[in-house]
């Protein structure tokens, strides 16, 4: 089994060609045709297996033993934290007197079960196939984070329900907030859906117009002459300042909110696209011209790809701006959405609902941000190894 893992472990390939030594990524597999191809060209290829913690070496060194022990400890952090939180919740008497709920202990029990199962997989079955091993290793590195997260929940439980250090109704404990989730999840899901539609329609239209403006201004000096001053005047103004006007101009509150979000996204995307397109290395354009490129090739196949790293910074800034604007824009007459939900809960003095919606909102935004990172990783994969990733 050990041999199997050793063969399958990722390798760093070291190359020597003439006097140039260089390594090409850890991603290349030892068995790939690349190695043979290189060798056939007189390149000296040596490969070093990246040390994998799952290679069960029969002659284990003391330091390796120590590391295995430390790994086991890391693995058990999360279930231990969950168990502790559960014991604290069930064992200590309540000092606040909310309605008895079960949502929080049930949630903790689930967490305990899942983390225990994961720990068992990591410790008990070291002979899973390598891809699963790698995934588990990634999971183990999450161990301390998950543990601290659970402990924070326990602290929250202690300062509210258990010792009543924070007053009700403004600071409900996790049991009440989890209960709100259970009671209102369909409404929360509905609100998240509406927020998503509003956010995406605003973001996509903002990005589209930003890209068009950015490429035109960045490429053509004539458009730049007229466009830049307009951009400098309109751009820095917060998009939310346009709300009164948007509500008059747009046919409905949804379109008003969408227009405001689009405007907030449009400015950073335009600016960063301009900067990317106008800073394309002249030599790329020169090369393309001598290869017979016309204007559309120069713009779409040279300038825009070369500008993509900069454009993505604009996309991220625009996404941040769109979150901010979404929260404000949902206050101008839309009848569903996460920010709207929080506002309704506030007027009803239902504080546990506010917390529930805040948690959902945080997850909502962070998932969308993560998705954009994934898109970037795919589109800008050619940068990997050039810049600090």
């Amino acid at each position: 089994m050990a041999a199997m893992f050793a063969e399958d472990a990722p390798h760093v390939i070291l190359l020597q060609y003439g006097q140039n030594d260089f390594a090409i990524g850890a991603e290349f597999d030892e068995s790939s045709g690349l190695k043979r191809g290189l060798q056939s060209m007189g390149v000296i290829v040596t490969s070093e297996a990246v040390d994998s913690p799952f290679v069960a070496d029969p002659a284990e060194t003391p330091s390796r033993m120590k590391r295995v022990g430390r790994n086991a400890l890391t693995t058990l952090l999360a279930p231990a934290a969950a168990l502790l939180a559960l014991l604290l919740h069930l064992g200590l008497p309540n000092h606040q007197s909310p309605l008895p709920t079960h949502a929080y202990p049930v949630f903790l029990a689930w967490v305990l079960g899942i983390t225990l199962l994961a720990a068992a997989c990591m410790l008990g079955f070291p002979f899973l196939y390598p891809a699963a091993q790698r995934r588990l290793a990634a999971m183990r590195s999450m161990g301390p984070l998950v543990a601290v997260g659970i402990l924070l929940l326990a602290v929250w439980d202690l300062v509210t329900l258990k010792f009543a250090l924070l007053p009700l109704p403004h600071f409900p404990g996790p049991d009440m907030v989890f209960q709100s989730f259970l009671e209102d999840w369909s409404e929360l899901a509905n609100c998240a859906w509406h927020s998503l539609i509003l956010l995406m329609s605003g973001y996509v239209s903002g990005v589209a117009s930003g890209l068009i403006c950015g490429v035109l201004i960045g490429w053509s000096p004539r458009v730049r002459y007229w466009g830049m001053p307009a951009l400098k005047i309109i751009g820095p103004m917060p998009a939310t300042a346009w709300i009164p006007l948007a509500m008059v101009i747009c046919p409905g509150s949804f379109f008003a909110a969408m227009a405001i979000i689009a405007l907030a996204v449009w400015f950073p995307v335009t600016m960063l696209t301009i900067s990317g397109v106008s800073n394309v290395r002249m030599s790329y354009l020169d090369v393309a011209r001598t290869l017979g490129a016309g204007r559309s090739y120069l713009i779409f196949r040279v300038a825009i790809p070369a500008a993509l790293p900069s454009i993505f910074i604009g996309l991220f800034m625009g996404l941040g701006a769109s979150f901010l604007t979404l929260v404000v824009a949902e206050g101008i007459g839309v009848s569903s959405g996460l920010a709207w939900y929080a506002d309704e809960a506030r007027s009803g003095m239902e504080y546990s609902k506010i917390y529930a919606s805040l948690i959902i909102t945080a997850i909502f935004f962070s998932v969308i941000m993560t998705l954009l990172f994934k898109v970037r990783d795919r589109v800008l994969v050619w940068q990997k190894g050039v810049i600090k990733w």
Partner: protein
């Protein structure tokens, strides 16, 4: 299909188009300080079809400027440049250019970098993959097809740049110190590769270099340039049989003569 006669006519035209003629070409730049810099002052040269010539000289003698003018990337202030019977008005796929920096498009893997000339001219669908494969094989790049440029060594990157320029079958290949940044051994390997390409394809080549050995080893004629203002000082034919030997007595004698012309011989003044 083209008839035999038309085919012959076309190939004669292509042959003729691959000669170059520069008449009293001058180019002036304005420096950042506002001063005028005479980069080229009345440079004239003729390159026969299928010939490999070198422009040799110290930096600042205007050899790269001259090459950019031939490529059509810049316009001369005075004089005329002809490719065959056509004046050069702008860049064209007929005249490929390879820089010292390979300038590969970092966002494209090797194979698509090489294909970019075909895509740019809109003929990828028609002639497409076969041509790209041919050049990948010719330059020994098959196993790098999906590698990104930053994963390549300098020598490999320059092979890709050569393949990318050649995939358009240019009649003239302009080389701007293409091997200047490589280590001595890789450079000698690639010199032979370029010669092999030149001999097998009959492409006219103009090589800009500041490496005297490279100029003697590679070219039919050497145009020696001197700086401030940049002009062509002397034309030396290299009458050595190929393949040439770098330690051959005639080779070394020619080397000494070029050093004399450029005042770098040292020793007695």
């Amino acid at each position: 299909m083209v008839s035999g006669l038309a085919g012959v006519a076309a190939s004669t035209r292509a042959r003729e188009a691959s000669s170059l003629r520069l008449c009293a070409v001058s180019k002036t730049f304005r420096t950042a300080g506002g001063a005028l810099l005479r980069a080229l002052d009345g440079a004239s040269l003729d390159v026969r079809a299928g010939e490999l010539i070198s422009l040799l000289g110290p930096s600042g003698c205007g050899k790269s400027t001259l090459l950019r003018l031939i490529a059509g990337l810049d316009q001369p202030d005075g004089g005329e440049i002809w490719a065959g019977s056509e004046p050069i008005k702008g860049p064209s796929a007929e005249r490929g250019l390879v820089f010292q920096d390979p300038n590969l498009f970092p966002w494209l893997p090797v194979r698509r970098n090489i294909a970019s000339g075909l895509v740019a001219r809109g003929v990828m669908r028609k002639t497409g993959h076969g041509v790209v494969d041919e050049f990948m094989r010719l330059m020994g790049l098959e196993s790098f097809a999906s590698a990104y440029p930053h994963q390549l060594s300098g020598g490999m990157a320059q092979r890709v740049a050569l393949a990318r320029a050649l995939v358009n079958h240019p009649t003239v290949l302009l080389l701007d110190e293409p091997l200047g940044a490589l280590d001595a051994f890789t450079r000698m390997v690639l010199q032979d590769e370029v010669l092999r390409l030149w001999q097998s394809r009959g492409t006219t080549m103009v090589l800009v270099t500041h490496d005297i050995d490279e100029a003697i080893y590679m070219s039919d004629r050497i145009f020696i340039m001197t700086p401030r203002p940049g002009r062509i000082e002397q034309v030396l034919p290299v009458d050595l049989p190929r393949p040439r030997h770098r330690s051959d007595a005639k080779f070394l004698a020619l080397r000494g003569r070029i050093l004399e012309i450029l005042h770098f011989a040292g020793g007695r003044n």
